[in-house]
Symmetry: C2
Subunit: 237 residues, 2 copies
DNA sequence: GTCTATATACCGATAGAC
DNA sequence: GTCTATCGGTATATAGAC
């Protein structure tokens, strides 16, 4: 009886391997990840890993596509069904945020790829990222034409969004370390606000007050400019 | 004659080693960096590297402190001299952006640490990061009390700022890859807008139009908080 | 202070028995 | 399909000659 694992005890070998690989690649990076450790966490022999998936780079490609291939369609769909420019931008921000929040491994993998300049990115992943960047560009340019958005480089918006989303969603360990050094927002270690909603507010109207909360009137069409915000304060001497 | 290197031909050994190490750590990460390669790029023998700096982890610590220790004071100073809440936030954004832009290695190193959850961060670096986060928190809470800012979790703002800044400043290789796949904003491969000014606009007023562009009223000099920055609309006498 | 040579350990990948 | 054993290559770190 060469088989020691009960075939009914969980997902198929390939699935378990990809999940374990995502964990280890996210923690250690492509170069730091050890195939032995991936095999161990998958509960499988290293030789079996090579038998099922191929070498380390093929494994990495499978991990990235596992996280990204589904998310792309959800992002495009979320943008497609929104009726206004602001709604589309809001949908884009929320969808990217949701993708990052869908797995703790996803934002870490993305941040590493940002740091390496995409050196380890396989071609299919690059094409998908280009699709999302083009989608962002389209949303922003249309909103700009309609007068809903001010002038901003679409690629910069895309990169700022990805960076902010991934940093926030990968920040739990850093938050814990900062918390031990004086940064404590609320008694718990979690954020005091929903990450997606925070990002929508940030990208749509920024931090300066004087405009209504964008979340309360999401489907406002692309009409003329909004009412000029009232500067609230005696803060200007 | 054991010495092959002319002592006058450049900076001291330690400086050259740290610079080369920053380069390699930024490109390959802590686990992926090879001590041999650092020594080679520093134009020094590997044994000499150990003689001067100690082991790989001490070397990494020296690299991080080299980039961060000076930047912290500049950030705190830039915030300190700003006369208003909005001006302080603007100064903070610009100072963090300037730090990331000061060296191509800095944003890559920061993104990697975000991805690892600060696992490789030495204690002095962590304390410095906590200082900046606390500074951000103070700026936002004061602005909130004065009515200048809307409600937002200060730690989320800090992490979003760091993520966006580092992603934008480390994005040159990714931009080139995306450019080859249909994303081309302007003929050159550079952004069509200054990164610091884009970020100020994003964090202060977001992308939705209807408010005066805060960038038009900022002083041209980088980090110049001399003039009152933002609230210069005609409606506010 | 500088360099060569090497100890020690580990990793990716495969061969081959079962 | 599964596992053990191992090869070949390479990494960190140090010993020791000069």
């Amino acid at each position: 009886m060469p088989k020691k694992r009960d075939p009914d005890e969980g997902p198929a070998a390939r699935e378990r391997i990809v999940e374990a690989a995502a964990e280890v690649f996210a923690e250690k990076g492509f170069g730091g990840a050890r195939v032995d450790e991936i095999a161990r966490r998958a509960g499988i022999n290293k030789a079996m890993l090579y038998y099922h998936l191929g070498d380390k780079r093929v494994l990495y490609e499978a991990v990235l596509l596992h996280f990204l291939s589904g998310a792309w369609q959800e992002i495009e769909e979320a943008v497609r069904v929104s009726p206004s420019s602001e709604g589309r931008l809001q949908a884009l921000v929320k969808a990217v945020s949701a993708m990052a929040a869908s797995s703790p491994h996803c934002p870490k993998l993305m941040l590493r790829e940002l740091a390496t300049g995409g050196a380890d990115l396989p071609e299919p992943v690059l094409r998908g990222m280009a699709r999302i960047a083009l989608l962002t560009k389209g949303v922003l340019e249309e909103g700009r034409r309609r007068g809903s958005f001010r002038k901003a480089d679409p690629l910069m918006v895309h990169l700022a969004l990805v960076g902010a989303v991934m940093a926030l969603n990968a920040s739990a360990p850093i938050r814990q370390k900062l918390k031990a050094r004086g940064i404590q927002v609320v008694p718990g270690m979690d954020f005091s606000q929903d990450v997606g909603e925070f990002l929508v507010g940030l990208f749509l109207t920024g931090l300066v007050s004087g405009r209504g909360d964008p979340l309360r009137k999401t489907t406002r069409a692309s009409g003329g400019p909004k009412r000029r915000p009232v500067s609230t304060r005696g803060a200007v001497p």
